[in-house]
């Protein structure tokens, strides 16, 4: 059964890049969100069992999304994909419950490696 996968990034280009980097054999049902508000709504509808999340976004940023997921006890496995490569950003998202942090731009190799590391493939 396909995994409901949410890709949240305010950049259309970045969303497409993540989607194109997914392992071809991975069975997923993809939903896109352009900011944190849309992402939370999608998760509430069951469309974000797994999520690739950007941090710097309008409306609601990635940190706030993680905080809300925790506060509302929503079910979503989150991997952050961001250009904010400050160690504090990584520490902060991990403390907020993210599974891992990947720096942009993401590559198919890095994405497969990360998914494999957590037994998600």
């Amino acid at each position: 059964m396909a995994i409901p996968l949410l890709i949240c990034d305010d950049s259309n280009m970045a969303r497409k890049q993540v989607a194109k980097s997914l392992p071809p054999s991975w069975e997923v049902d993809i939903t896109f969100a352009t900011n944190g508000v849309e992402a939370l709504a999608a998760i509430a509808e069951g469309k974000g069992e797994m999520m690739f999340l950007d941090l710097t976004m309008p409306e609601m940023d990635g940190f706030e999304v993680l905080e809300n997921i925790r506060k509302k006890d929503l079910k979503s496995v989150v991997i952050v994909i961001s250009g904010d490569i400050q160690p504090q950003a990584r520490d902060r998202v991990m403390a907020l419950g993210a599974l891992d942090f990947i720096k942009k731009p993401v590559s198919p190799e890095k994405l497969s490696e990360t998914l494999g590391k957590f037994g998600l493939l």
């Binding site: 950049s11 280009m13 904010d84 490569i85 504090q88 720096k103 731009p105």
Partner: protein, 214 residues
């Protein structure tokens, strides 16, 4: 004076340029964080076509007090562009205090402007060049105190484009090392300004490079 937007600068180009700036902005934040030992908050990048006068107006409105900025010249693909660091003098003073430096007189202000630019420009601009696989050369750095000193950079380019974002220094909390530092409030803008032709070439290179990756 109203200047029509270049007809090539559509939403797709803006999106590509924003994502390109996003990567460079992250590298710049890391460099600034290393110097200040603070977490640097990032803004969503903006892409706008603007005249030099618009830049001046932006600075006036963004910073109601004195105008204070530093211009880093750069050259890429045979064209010249400019990176502006626009900061309120009081924020510059805060930045100096984070580095245990004084920022009292004009010479101090100029030194701190050059120092801050020296932290950011050699990281932000080369990251953009790296992503695009183009050669980029850094040129002169010019601290500017007061609008009267603002050179008419880009004045010839009615179709110049500004790629702008902000940094804000955050009072830290997570790290023990950072938690010992007192909270501060400091923010400033970074504007990468380039002739429209150059920006168009950069956007197209970024797009084709990413397309070629898949």
């Amino acid at each position: 004076m109203t200047v029509p937007f270049a007809n090539w600068l559509d939403d797709s180009h803006r999106d590509q340029l924003k994502e390109l700036v996003n990567l460079a902005m992250g590298d710049g934040a890391k460099a600034l964080s290393n110097v200040t030992l603070r977490y640097i908050q990032l803004s969503v990048p903006q892409v706008n076509q603007a005249l030099t006068q618009d830049l001046i107006n932006h600075c006036k409105f963004a910073r109601p007090s004195e105008f204070c900025c530093c211009v880093q010249e750069y050259a890429a693909l045979g064209q010249v562009g400019w990176l502006f660091i626009v900061i309120n003098p009081s924020d510059l003073k805060t930045y100096a205090s984070l580095l245990d430096r004084d920022c009292v007189d004009e010479a101090d202000h100029e030194n701190m402007l050059v120092q801050l630019t020296g932290v950011l420009a050699p990281v932000i601009l080369p990251r953009i060049a790296k992503e695009l696989r183009v050669s980029l050369k850094l040129g002169e750095v010019q601290p500017i105190l007061g609008l009267h000193q603002l050179p008419m950079v880009g004045a010839e380019g009615v179709s110049a484009v500004n790629l702008a974002f902000s940094y804000a220094v955050e009072a830290p909390s997570e790290s023990e090392e950072l938690a010992r530092k007192p909270p501060v409030e400091m923010a400033f803008d970074v504007i990468m300004r380039a002739p429209a032709d150059l920006v168009k070439q950069l956007a197209e290179k970024f797009s084709s490079r990413l397309d070629a990756s898949f």
